[in-house]
Amino acid sequence: MTRLVVVGLALALAIAVGTGCAKEGCLGGEDGCRVPPPCQKVAFTCSGGDSLSVETITDATQRPGGWNGIGAKGDVKLSNGVVDVVIAGIGTQTYLDPHGGSILDLAPAGQPKDTVNNVFQVVGILPNDAAWYSTLEIIDERPARVAVQVRGTLDGRPNVPISTRYELTPCDPGVRVRTEIVNGSTDNQTWGLLDGYYWSGRESLPFAPGEGEGFTHMSFGLTTIQKAFKTFPYFAAAGHSGDGKVSAISTASCTDPKLTGFHSDQISAAGLGLKVVPPRGSLIFERFIAAADVRDVGGAIDLALEVRKQVLGEAYVTLTGTVERMGGGGGFAAEREASVLVVEGALGGPTDAGIPWTQVVPKADGTFSVRVPGNKQYVVEVHAFGRKEVERQFSVGATDQSLGAFVLPGVATLTATVQDATTMMPIDAELFVVPETEESAAALTGNLHGRFATCSPWLGPPPGASPACNRILVRNGQATAEVPTGRYEVLAFHGPFWSLGREVVNLQPGNTSLSFSLTRLPLKPAGALSSDLHVHGAASFDSSIPDLDRVLSFSASDLDVIVATDHDVIYDYGKIVADLGLSGRMSTVVGLESTGHIPWLKVKNYGFPLVIGHYNLWPLRFDPSLPRNGAPIDELIEPGELFERTKSGATGLEVIELNHPWAEPEFGRDLGFPRAIFLDTTKDLPATDDGSGTGANVYIRTPANASYANDGHHAQEVINGSDSSLHLQYRAFWFYVLNQGRLKAGTANSDSHSLTDNTVGVPQNLVFTSTTAGPGFDVNAFNTAVREGRMIGTNGPVISATVEDATGQERGPSLLPFAPKADGVLRVKVSSAPWIPVEEVRVVVNGVVVKTFASLPQPTDPFATSGDLVRFDGTAPLTELLSGVSGDAWIVVEAGTRLPLAADLGGGLDLDKDGKEDLDGIPDTTDNNGDGKVDSADVTAGEDRGPLNNLPTPKRGEVGYYFGALTGGHPNAFANPFVLDRNGDGKFNAPGVTGGR
């Protein structure tokens, strides 16, 4: 026994000696620990170097500038005179960062050029794989360093501590970062300790060296993400707002030759590779995230290569050269005009075999300088207007090398003037440059090194400032842009209620001037305000369009009221409206689009956590000193609680709008609440929540801490986007909720994020209200009209519809029930601009199209500025429309192109566990093979339903071609319902899913 006791004591002693010694950094979990200074092999020098500072932000003026600058009260800003970096304060939830401690801003010091949305730490893709920091400590060791240390655990996993230190030392052109994590759980884990970089798809583009990569990365989804993991020596990303408010960042490891991760336009991850981490295992990741005051990734890559030189002893060389333009003319003011890509490889080699190492935008005088690893053979490509124009091969040794001059083809300079044909006054407008023929279109097609949208011609990055894609904004009647030579149609647009201008031009090097006179058509009804209730600008994490261009686009579409609905930040365009002199005729409303990022919500019979989708809320108080400019934290709460949290920030009668209710999820995040929760629209909603957790119960329940039900919104989008994609689904859902007696106003919004994804004001709402835009605009009156559904949604056709009530008064569309005249009629008149054909008018009663006025006469001259604009004028007796319907009813009038044939082939939860998803009543598949029926033959191979396609847009020469060229869709409009209290009990009794039939 004695020996056993000895063994026990020996064991305890040995363990105590061996395990009780001091731990590295904060891996031991001790109070007061310090994560060691990161990247100790790295040092930069500069003149000065004594401007280190660290401050807790208390005022909006301390926020680094730039379209992504979101630092706010409680965040911590580090600066060394070279860069500014802002670390989110504890509790500041931002995008995918659940609780603060992530990088919010990183930009050249003092420059309004922050292009970083968010850099945060994760070990995987699940919500509980993200760091949830609970403490923040400022380390002020000036003059040596300033740092922020954050400590916490993985989200919801208290036994997995994680600590990160962000540090600046004098002259650092970036932030040093070290993260430590230890597996205190009792399970083996698969972890990749990674920084997540949230780009969002329309902002910075990641670039990483790799065979066939550079800006190009394999596409992947949540279920295929592992295949996207690759190793790379560094990566970089630069913004593309096109207005000079851009910079670039790069990341290189301070310890290892490679980073591991993945890249997409939406998100990048870079760090340690995936590995098994058993209990007690720990990981340490040190990296240098540089920021460069450049318009390309090259400037940031230069810094990454310097870090690698210091850490790994890896040499680099500097390549210099000049880009010139044939015939001279113009400078190289932007990346659209010249971009130099350096690719390891040989001319004529397979395009997917080369390894892009860097990319640089020449200076205004055409010169460029960029670093690359030495002793390689490179092909240097020069791109202009989205197309590779010149490429040459070079063998690069161990010393710096001059590459000489690269000569680009000449370009044309297009100058356009646009005026109101009646007043002869200059107007804001938007030009669409369209190749005259399909053949020339192919020759002019371009993109930004394979990223963003492909356009013909490609005049600039689609998400950014004008010119973008093939669009040019006209300010106060004037616009000038450089355009590749060729024959074009140039279309001048000033909203759907104006004539469309057109000029055909053969652009050659030199200046070409065009003039347009547009006519205001008598289409917009008196008392109606053209309103787009869903637009984004650069304040959104997924938009790069500068404020000036954004507001100019509002005016170019001749909008009266615009609601700012940037993602997760409250925003106010008022100052820009005033700066542009538009305050007299335009009103903007401060609002928000709450955007779920962190999945959490569970519904019965579905295993994956969900987000609640997107909601617009306005009017709200804009306070840039607060996180999210005052927007509430919208994660991990049900819609009802979100509405509750927003209430205190409302500055008037609030409108809550359910956005794109049935949109496809993006990266596992649903965009619409009803689709997220698998609402079955073939069944009536329960009267009360039975607590079962089914989608229907979740939809109608009122969450704790809320006075709103989850379906407490006032309006929902019925049309979203200029091409009206998914309109059939949104429409079906709207009809469902109307049939449930849960009356919501239908809206039509552009959801525009740029000049090119959707055109602001197409579609829009004509809101019938007593107030007017400009000075004296009464947001409460406007919102009252929206909430009451006194509006039509349209991308062009204007519906005028009335129904006689019991007193003989003509009633317009509204959610307010009224008793109709027994022998009353529905009167409908539909008008549109000559370039917006209307094929048919439909009357929908309780969800069913009961009457269609088809084969309407078509306009013959799309560019006419006068003539008959009425496409339909007729009546229908209510007795005919309501035939077969018992009880109360609602009537919706629609106008436009016929709707595609579609059906529901699945999409709901597999409640009977037969492996096939159940029908949910929402169409998901169109007649894609054109055989007149919707069945499995229409479904994409390997899928069980879909796609849901729009009808093809008309070809050149066909009616509606120009509408399609401008919008990508078809004319489409609807009026909000007439709600008929047929039994006269003073209320609307829901007809249910049968529609009262």
């Binding site: 000895v6 061996g18 205190g184 698969t190 590995k275 720990s282």
Partner: protein
């Protein structure tokens, strides 16, 4: 690493000292009444005659460790545990000399939490009966293969695994009732954990009651501690194990074992373990499987097999 080396040396020296042959051990040890060798229970190695403190069983009867013992047939609790090597695994009460190899496969599939873990261990093990009442033993995970899933992210790892060294000292041998105290050390041999080398130890008592040649009732009570030589928090954890089981041996070449195990500590479970045992002369074969019915352990099941060759 200096700390690691110092600790290793200290552990090794102390463990060796504790189990070194000691002239006083015979007198300090309780009496045994090991029977004469039989055809099914060959003679144990020569050992000092124990002090007899109770009546010996009649010479024609078989008692103690030989009762029911079939030469190569594994005995005691099923050697299938949830932890590193054989840590926190029931131990037999009777010393024996054997060597063997085996494998263990465990699966944790937690679909609602998007977690999965598959572990395969290739195991070498052996024991040596230093005396009839003293055994030293070792278990080495010669190859540890791990496959883990975090949602759709997976990782695999193949490394040298854990090693335990231990000893059993039989303190009770009263006819059909046997008991032994065992101690085990988990040595920091495994490369599987980044930044850490697991260490630990266990002290336990194994009991066996063999009222019939075909029946053994056994039990084990142990307490253990695990920690790590680590740059991080070693997360020192204590736990206990209580096991009760029965072996039915209808034939000398076959036995069926059913154990019930209760584990408490940071990882807890209540788990039945079933085993089938075979022997072919000196070759013993054990096939076992276990699954936790309660507790926080995430295993869905663990199964394993062992082949052993008995030398004594």
């Amino acid at each position: 690493m200096d700390t690691l080396r110092r600790s290793m040396m200290l552990l090794s020296l102390l463990a060796a000292a504790a189990f070194a042959q000691d002239p006083g051990a015979a007198t300090a040890s309780p009496p045994t009444d090991a029977p004469a060798p039989t055809a099914e229970a060959p003679a144990t190695p020569a050992a000092p005659a124990p002090e007899v403190k109770q009546e010996a069983a009649p010479s024609e009867e078989i008692a103690g460790c030989a009762q029911g013992a079939a030469h190569g047939l594994p005995e005691g609790p099923v050697a299938l545990g949830y932890f590193e090597a054989d840590l926190a695994t029931g131990r037999r009460a009777c010393p024996r000399s054997e060597a063997g190899l085996g494998g263990r496969f465990g699966a944790s599939i937690d679909t609602p939490n998007f977690y999965g873990n598959l572990g395969v261990n290739g195991i070498l093990f052996g024991s040596f009966a230093v005396r009839p009442d003293v055994e030293v033993f070792a278990t080495l995970e010669a190859a540890n293969f791990t496959y883990t899933v975090n949602a759709v992210l997976t990782a695999t790892q193949l490394t040298l695994g854990n090693l335990t060294l231990g000893g059993t000292y039989q303190v009770l041998n009263r006819g059909a009732v046997l008991g032994g105290v065992s101690a085990r050390l988990l040595l920091p041999t495994s490369f599987e954990t980044p930044g850490a080398r697991a260490v630990g130890g266990e002290l336990g008592f194994a009991a066996s009651w063999r009222p019939k040649r075909w029946l053994e009732v056994h039990g084990y009570l142990g307490g253990d501690v695990t920690s790590a030589f680590s740059r991080a928090n070693p997360f020192t954890r204590f736990g206990g194990l209580l096991l009760a089981g029965v072996q039915l041996q209808p034939w000398s070449w076959f036995a069926f074992v059913l154990d019930l195990t209760g584990r408490f500590g940071e990882i807890s479970y209540f788990a039945p373990t079933a085993g089938l045992r075979f022997r072919i002369a000196r070759l013993g074969i054990e096939l076992g499987a276990t699954l936790p019915l309660a507790g926080n352990d995430r295993h869905d099941f663990i199964m394993g097999g062992r082949f052993s060759w008995r030398f004594d």
